[in-house]
């Protein structure tokens, strides 16, 4: 049985290698695909020629994620939200937020090093998140980096140490909801302003668009914030960091009662 599996895997790999060798020219996408990339790259930061289409962000990836294809990202955030909500629903009633017993954790050396490195991890995460419109990074990556800090604390100290310091799942849920509400508000803020002023703007609008002359500030006192991109990154960072911290803590806290 095992030998059959091995043969199947080997044949699959060899066949795919042959496919690559024969069809190498066709595996590479044709240059027609490049036109899309060229538009995105050209429009990412271009106040000179494309004032009505640019996202005013030097980082092409973030400008796609939160401006050109912002609606995609909104729905991906919804998937993220639903996956975590489903997990929390499964965990409901299986964990208690009050500390059950005192625990020692690892040795003093490890604890001291963790206490030094954890603030650095959080600072790096915030930096990645808030500079998402300038350098590689953004809300998703920054939030994921921040969520590492509570995980390290859970491993080195204990989950009850984290709970005693006030990082409880219920509070994380509130923080995450705040982040998601912020994303929702940021996406409609220009639309609301336009409604109040009697002009016209799109939902998810960032900079000036043809027919909608209202715009978010591209920079504040000389510092480039790229309009909505900075706010989206900030709130997404909040939502991702809080959501993952909550999930990690609950996974560790889950216990089945004696009756089961």
């Amino acid at each position: 049985m095992r030998s059959i599996e091995l043969v199947v895997i080997t044949v699959v790999v060899l066949a795919l290698a042959l496919l690559i060798a024969v069809a190498y020219e066709n595996i590479i996408p044709s240059t027609a695909v490049r036109k899309v990339a060229e538009f995105y790259l050209y429009a990412a930061y271009n106040p000179f020629d494309l004032r009505e289409y640019t996202a005013m962000s030097p980082e092409a990836v973030t400008s796609i994620v939160w401006d050109f294809r912002g609606l995609d990202t909104l729905f991906e955030t919804a998937v993220f939200f639903l996956a975590l909500i489903a997990g929390m629903a499964l965990a409901r009633g299986l964990y208690r937020e009050t500390p059950q017993f005192k625990s020692e954790g690892l040795s003093l050396i490890v604890k001291s090093v963790t206490k030094i490195t954890a603030p650095v991890i959080i600072a790096v995460g915030v930096s990645i998140g808030l500079h998402g419109h300038l350098t590689p990074g953004g809300g998703f990556q920054g939030g994921s980096v921040i969520a590492v800090a509570p995980m390290i604390f859970i491993v080195i100290f204990s989950v009850y140490f984290v709970l005693e310091r006030g990082v409880a799942p219920s509070k994380m849920l509130v923080l995450r909801s705040l982040g998601l509400a912020g994303i929702g508000l940021t996406s409609v803020v220009l639309f609301m302003i336009a409604l109040l002023r009697g002009s016209f703007a799109y939902v998810f609008q960032n900079m000036i668009k043809p027919g909608a002359s209202i715009s978010m500030p591209a920079e504040i006192s000389g510092a480039l914030i790229s309009g909505t991109l900075w706010f989206f990154n900030f709130f997404e960072m909040l939502a991702v960091a809080a959501g993952f911290s909550m999930a990690f803590i609950v996974v560790v806290l889950m216990r089945f009662g004696k009756g089961e």
């Binding site: 795919l16 996956a83 997990g87 990556q141 996974v251 889950m254």
Partner: protein
């Protein structure tokens, strides 16, 4: 040099396919739930790498491709940037896919926990035998 570049890229591509094969093997034949989960993460990471790879091309005669981040905010720099930078679209899609993948894996971990609480085992052969 041209041949060497092509050959190295082919190796990366072949390695990705081999990775997919190994991950699928793990998902289908490993009996333990957690090992299936690990194989699944390998599979999704391979798919993400593959998507990134599709964006990378030696498009231009201007030299090697560069990161899609504009460094100088000037008109000429933008033109050069447009000609040379790699396709940012796959990167943007992969960036969200990674976080969504992590959230889905966390959901599956929760599911595994409940599975263990119900059956007192995570061995899929045992669970298949129990039926209910």
């Amino acid at each position: 040099m041209e041949f060497l570049n092509t050959y190295l890229l082919s190796i990366v591509l072949a390695a990705l396919f081999a990775n997919i094969a190994i991950a699928l093997y793990g998902v289908f034949f490993k009996p333990h739930y957690i090992k299936k989960l690990i194989a699944l993460t390998i599979f999704s990471d391979t798919a993400n790498t593959f998507a990134i790879y599709l964006g990378y091309r030696r498009w231009t005669a201007l030299g090697s491709p560069r990161v899609p981040v504009l460094v100088e905010l000037e008109k000429d720099a933008i033109r050069e940037f447009t000609a040379r930078a790699v396709d940012p679209l796959p990167q943007a899609l992969v960036l969200t896919a990674i976080v969504i993948g992590l959230a889905v894996v966390l959901f599956l971990v929760f599911l595994g926990y409940v599975l263990y609480g119900h059956y007192k085992t995570l061995d899929m052969r045992e669970i298949k035998k129990l039926r209910g």
